[in-house]
Symmetry: C2
Subunit: 350 residues, 2 copies
DNA sequence: GTGAAAGCGCTAACAG
DNA sequence: CTGTTAGCGCTTTCAC
């Protein structure tokens, strides 16, 4: 008889008691070892660990949560299950919840129910009896929602909060630094004629990425050319028209840096529609590493956010926040690092 | 004091006991009402339900799972967290798990660790002590993996299993019927000159969709034209080259039906690169409604699978399978219906 | 350092 | 139909 037959059906076969018996100690000692309590003697710990391994024991999360009374019910507030973001968020959050013994509860806030908007979202969250919530993009940009959560005193951690909003614990990347990092890489590949497609200016990320572009140019001493800066709204189509516009400038840039991957993909399509090659004639780089980045051809060089790490960290922060007796204790606004992903859409000029 | 302050910290405030006290019955009666036991008198049930509402009581899943001993640890075996599929799978599976009191455990099977292949996946699953697993695409096409699960007697439910594989309970859509449905819609929109881009022939779905295309043509009495059938491998790039090929035929089809959205998107790009308009000159339709379908411009008319419902059903089936004492009981192979999504890439000729 | 006892909130089994 | 009793597997509390 092996594990899979024992677990699941009715009772769990190997419990802390059996481990205790085999190791010749009490359940408590096993529990202490499991929880890395410092007080256990080295010798005892060894015996217990051996027994655990011998029995292939795995603690029962249900029991642990029940007894500890620490289990949190964490709501994940989202409004778009097809978001390229959300699956990685789920993976990160779910794994962290599992290891911390918490519950992840999904709160679907799609706004297709008319007028069931922010207010009712907050009400629903309050009524659901959740310990706290994770607010993820694009909902996290919604100041009204955040105000509602604050008013109701619902513990929340915000992933990618609106500009300057530091009243909630948050996890984000530094969009400006990330855009700069991409620019530095372009410089290194020998590019200096770099055009930029801006994103929806209502979004903080768009503004910061644009700022990073400008900062990098300035640092390198390259003058800003207005005809190489185009507006966009984060959509594929806007990327197409922006690229058309950029290509009609007297000088052609050697790279187009789009504020997100959708627009970058649109730019690629527009360039190809003009009979030009990517990256031979014009390189294109994006931002986000969303699924379209590796879906199109040529595949996009882009900036990747550590999304599941962000979610994982957010769960930690929420647990801290809920656990702390002092609700006014210091608010952590964490910033995680990004990664440049090199694919086919960027040509090295060196 | 409201709910959120009570829940989460240490003990849960409103328990079944308080409900019982308020309703003037025993805990058991409350429990019966909660579990929709038929034996409770209507009158009693009313009282209890009122108390539940008055106290805003919500059962503690941890306790329920522990006491019931029914809680399953369901592994979700995936190999690509960015898959357009997986977030909806997660949403469906997670919600179903929550309502049934099960645990969803993620099993990341990305194969970037060399040689940590099928074998070790099965081993890991066995070692993790899971009650059973959900196998989702594209892993679900992997017969070797499935054989491994079978050999180890690990209960599994397969979403979109390989052709003819009915030894595991499964949930799928009828790809052939779905392709036919799309064809019928094209006919209704006045199209008869329909080209097809085939998918990776190793995959069951690709073959069945192609079959649906042929079946529909035959039923309508339209001859099959080989020059309007192109090969593809499910990738964007293959869609581009397939479309090029199709466009070079002496007669231009009025629609290109691609076996998935990535190829359809590639086809759109190729058509546009030729200086033609979609859908004015050529319409394009896809299959899957993956994120690229609504991401590009024009947005793609396509076939949508009820992915989260499929996951939800899969969890149910797994619970049944694990719960049944007779492992050789009848295996359910469920087929769910699809939906046609009309967007911009298809022109109506009527 | 370690152990014994007492629950966490709920449900299974058996009474009544 | 409803209540009583006894745990589920673990951690907390408080002894030793």
């Amino acid at each position: 008889m092996n594990v899979k037959e024992r677990r699941g059906q009715r009772r769990q076969a190997v419990t802390i008691k059996e481990v205790a018996d085999l190791a010749g100690v009490s359940q408590m000692t096993v529990s202490r070892v499991l929880n890395n309590s410092e007080v256990v003697r080295e010798n005892t710990r060894k015996k217990v660990e051996e027994a655990i391994r011998a029995l292939n024991y795995r603690p029962n999360l249900l029991a642990r949560g029940l007894a500890g009374g620490q289990a949190l019910f964490i709501g994940l507030v989202y409004n778009n299950p097809s978001n390229s973001y959300i699956s990685e968020i789920l993976v990160g959050a779910l794994n962290q919840c599992r290891s911390m013994g918490h519950y992840l509860v999904l709160e679907d806030c799609r706004s297709d129910e008319r007028h069931a908007d922010q207010r009712s979202v907050v009400e629903r969250i309050a009524a659901a009896g959740l310990s706290g919530v994770l607010v993820i993009p694009p909902l996290s940009e919604d100041n009204a929602l955040l105000d509602g959560l604050r008013a109701q005193d619902i513990p929340a951690v915000v992933i990618a909060p609106p500009q300057g909003r530091t009243d909630f614990p948050s996890v984000s990347i530094d969009d400006e630094a990330a855009a700069e990092a991409m620019m530095l890489d372009l410089f290194e590949q020998g590019h200096t004629d770099i055009a930029f497609i801006r994103g929806d200016e209502a979004q903080n990320a768009a503004r910061r990425r644009y700022r990073g572009y400008l900062t990098a140019l300035k640092a390198k001493g390259i003058p800003v050319r207005q005809e190489w800066i185009a507006k966009g709204d984060f959509n594929y189509r806007s990327g197409m028209s922006a690229a058309m516009e950029l290509l009609s400038a007297p000088d052609r840039p050697s790279v187009i840096f789009a504020c997100n991957d959708d627009m970058a993909a649109g730019a690629v399509a527009a360039i190809q529609a003009q009979g030009l090659k990517v990256p031979a004639d014009v390189s294109v780089v994006g931002f986000d590493d969303s699924s379209i980045a590796s879906g199109i051809w040529p595949t996009l060089t882009t900036v990747r956010q550590p999304i599941s790490q962000m979610a994982s960290r957010a769960v930690e922060l929420l647990a801290e926040r809920v656990g702390s007796d002092d609700p006014s204790s210091e608010v952590v606004n964490a910033t995680l690092g990004i990664e440049l992903v090199h694919r086919q859409s960027l040509q090295c000029l060196n």
